[in-house]
């Protein structure tokens, strides 16, 4: 069953915000205003929003190097996120984390980790705490398809299953680990069957379709919250951009990317909203331009913010 009108509009708004944020971050990176790297999640907005909209404020997410979208979807402020990726003192992590490590504890984002596969164990531990304290909260770690070949990813599914923990393991299958296609690193077509090894449900959804992701996530979250244990949720999508902004993409044909871009999750959802009468094109245009404005304001805020004081370089090492 589709969520109510307000929820659907909010989903679209969140997806538009992520798209604008990522485009702006890529642009700033190419202009040399962001150092390090930016890993855009363009093409994967539906899985970030579909999953996070199924969560409560008190539920927790754990992200990856590609987690701008997850953080925005969980409710993080674009201003403080943009300030973080520009290395500013007003950023969520006071400029200590940068693009790969945005954590927003006030929204339930426990942190984004730059080591592929490292997030699952943290979610297992958080969920264990929830279970031990009798809290009806759920922990959701995001991992990309390539992360499913790491040991900790598997260990975590097993441990969460053995302990019946409230975890929804989200696997965002964007088809590439840097340059390596998942078919060259994994000998199965359907990654959700990995759940069978651990005796938990594995669900495969179209990761371009926010409503499909939301429906599957809602079910998995309800199951976890009811004490029925973890689920593996695989959202199959595609990484429209390179591994990082400006990456040359010598390993795939332009035509392959163009083919997948036909399934752009934003275009698709816009069509659904108009076709089902939830919103008019004009209303959605307004949402798009509001998202643009919000990101412009975020960039202005970030650029006007001070750098961290060099005298604070040794802060936040020990509590």
């Amino acid at each position: 069953m589709a969520p109510d009108t307000a929820t659907q509009i909010k989903m679209y708004r969140q997806m538009a915000l992520i798209r604008e944020f990522e485009l702006a971050a890529m642009d700033l990176f190419k202009r040399g205003q962001i150092k390090g790297a930016v890993h855009p999640s363009i093409g994967q907005e539906a899985s970030a929003v579909g999953v996070c909209m199924a969560l409560d404020h008190d539920d927790l997410i754990v992200g990856t190097h590609r987690s701008h979208g997850h953080n925005l979807a969980k409710g993080a402020s674009p201003e403080r996120m943009m300030a973080e990726i520009l290395g500013k003192d007003t950023g969520y992590c006071k400029g200590r984390g940068g693009s790969m490590h945005i954590a927003a504890f006030d929204t339930g984002s426990l942190g984004a980790l730059g080591v592929v596969g490292a997030g699952n164990p943290l979610a297992v531990g958080a969920a264990l705490a929830f279970q031990m304290r009798g809290e009806r909260r759920v922990a959701v770690p995001f991992t990309g398809d390539a992360g499913t070949n790491t040991g900790s990813w598997h260990e975590s599914l097993n441990m969460a299953s053995v302990w019946n923990l409230p975890v929804v393991f989200v696997l965002e299958d964007n088809k590439y680990g840097v340059s390596t296609h998942i078919r060259d690193s994994t000998n199965i077509d359907d990654l959700s069957i990995r759940a069978q090894s651990y005796g938990i449900p594995g669900v495969l959804v179209n990761g371009f379709d926010v409503l499909a992701v939301y429906e599957a996530a809602t079910e998995a979250v309800a199951r976890a919250r009811a004490g029925k244990g973890p689920t593996l949720l695989v959202a199959e999508a595609y990484r429209f951009e390179g591994h990082y902004a400006g990456e040359p993409e010598v390993y795939r044909e332009r035509s392959e990317v163009a083919e997948h871009r036909k399934h752009d999750p934003l275009t698709h959802f816009r069509r659904v909203l108009v076709d089902t009468g939830v919103a008019s094109s004009e209303e959605l245009d307004d949402v798009d331009s509001a998202a643009k404005d919000e990101i412009s304001a975020a960039i202005e805020f970030a650029k006007a913010s001070p750098d961290p004081d060099p005298s604070t370089a040794m802060d936040y090492i020990y509590a």
Partner: protein, 357 residues
């Protein structure tokens, strides 16, 4: 301070040997029990679990079995399977789960069966737990303790993959604290402090010391982390040591006292962050320094301590600094060759006599 004169009246009938009497940490009027190092660790866990519901244990075979060395034995009976939690053999996720639980307000104490297995969990230790506070700009704190038995020697070793002394692996990572107690008193007080600390603490237990006995006060006490302990005051030579090597240093000091050499023994019971001041102060006082650690010599703790002495006491030195350390080899199995790998009190005697010349 001038060297003590040799005094025939201080000689006992027998030569000093390795015994609990070498180290005395509890005053005569303090109610106390003599227990082992292993029991001291268990009692610290029991008391902290009783005091604070957020403290729980996880690790391989720690429940009824009590862990590979029986340290957690009886805790399962008292606290049950929720708080004394057996895990699958999944070191990375044991540590990562401890981190996740700690991030949301628990105080997990995880056990890795042997420190040698920490390699399996090193990403979670060094890249996640140690760095989350900084990476999140202070939003995160990770109040866990990771207990790991380490070391070997005297027939207790079980070859190359179960016998290493790896404190420097962890001491090199900012964000971690590293503790290596040498006595039952220190083990209990430091473990309680580690559990109450808001940072990830690596708590290394010297396997050979599990059966060592010592007095432990009946009343609650904690020993602050990041402080060296002067186990014996002396004016002639400073011996800096940690773990089991503290006992060898104390034995050597007892023997050297009969030769009129007054040794000060500094126990680096928290390896990191290092209390440089206590080492520096002692080195300035004695002007002669011998460093002893069981870990491998190259890039080991003794090299770090030597630099601390140089930075804090160079102008006071009357002899070159001498280091005694484990040899640079994987630990071999047979007793006859394993013995040659670890330093002992004989090495310390030779080194101290050398710097006194």
């Amino acid at each position: 301070m001038a060297a003590k004169k040799w005094d025939a009246t201080s000689l006992s009938a027998t030569a000093p040997t390795m015994s609990p009497n070498l180290i005395s940490q509890v005053a005569d009027d303090v109610p106390a029990q003599e227990i082992t190092y292993q029991e001291a660790i268990r009692e610290a866990l029991r008391e902290e679990m009783t005091r604070d519901e957020s403290v729980f244990l996880l690790g391989e075979d720690i429940a009824k079995h009590g862990g590979a060395f029986g340290v957690t034995r009886t805790l399962f009976d008292q606290f049950g399977p929720e708080r004394v939690r057996n895990t699958p053999i999944s070191e990375a996720t044991i540590v990562g789960a401890a981190t996740g639980a700690a991030l949301v307000g628990m105080r997990p104490v995880a056990e890795i069966m042997f420190v040698d297995f920490s390699g399996l969990a090193m990403d979670q230790i060094a890249n996640q737990a140690a760095k989350l506070r900084l990476m999140t700009g202070g939003q995160a704190s990770v109040p866990w303790v990771l207990r790991m038995p380490q070391g070997g020697g005297a027939g207790k070793s079980t070859a190359a993959q179960h016998s290493q002394s790896l404190e420097v692996w962890f001491a090199h990572i900012p964000g971690l604290k590293v503790v290596l107690p040498s006595t039952p008193y220190d083990a209990k007080g430091l473990l309680k402090a580690a559990i109450r600390d808001d940072n990830p603490v690596i708590f290394l237990e010297q396997k050979f010391l599990y059966s060592f006995r010592g007095l432990v006060p009946d009343d609650d006490y904690v020993i602050p982390l990041s402080q060296c302990d002067v186990k014996r005051s002396g004016g002639d030579v400073t011996v800096v040591a940690s773990g089991y090597m503290v006992w060898h240093a104390m034995l050597a000091a007892e023997i050297l006292a009969r030769e009129g050499i007054d040794v000060e023994v500094v126990d680096v019971r928290t390896v990191s962050p290092l209390d440089e001041d206590t080492i520096g102060r002692s080195a300035r006082k004695t002007g002669r320094v011998v460093l002893v650690a069981e870990a491998c010599r190259s890039y080991g703790p003794t090299g770090e301590w030597a630099m601390v002495v140089m930075e804090h006491a160079f102008d006071y030195l009357q002899a070159p600094i001498v280091r005694i350390a484990g040899r640079d080899t994987p630990v071999p199995f047979a007793d006859s060759i394993e013995k040659g790998v670890w330093p002992d009190s004989e090495d310390i005697l030779r080194a101290v006599r050398g710097v006194m010349e």
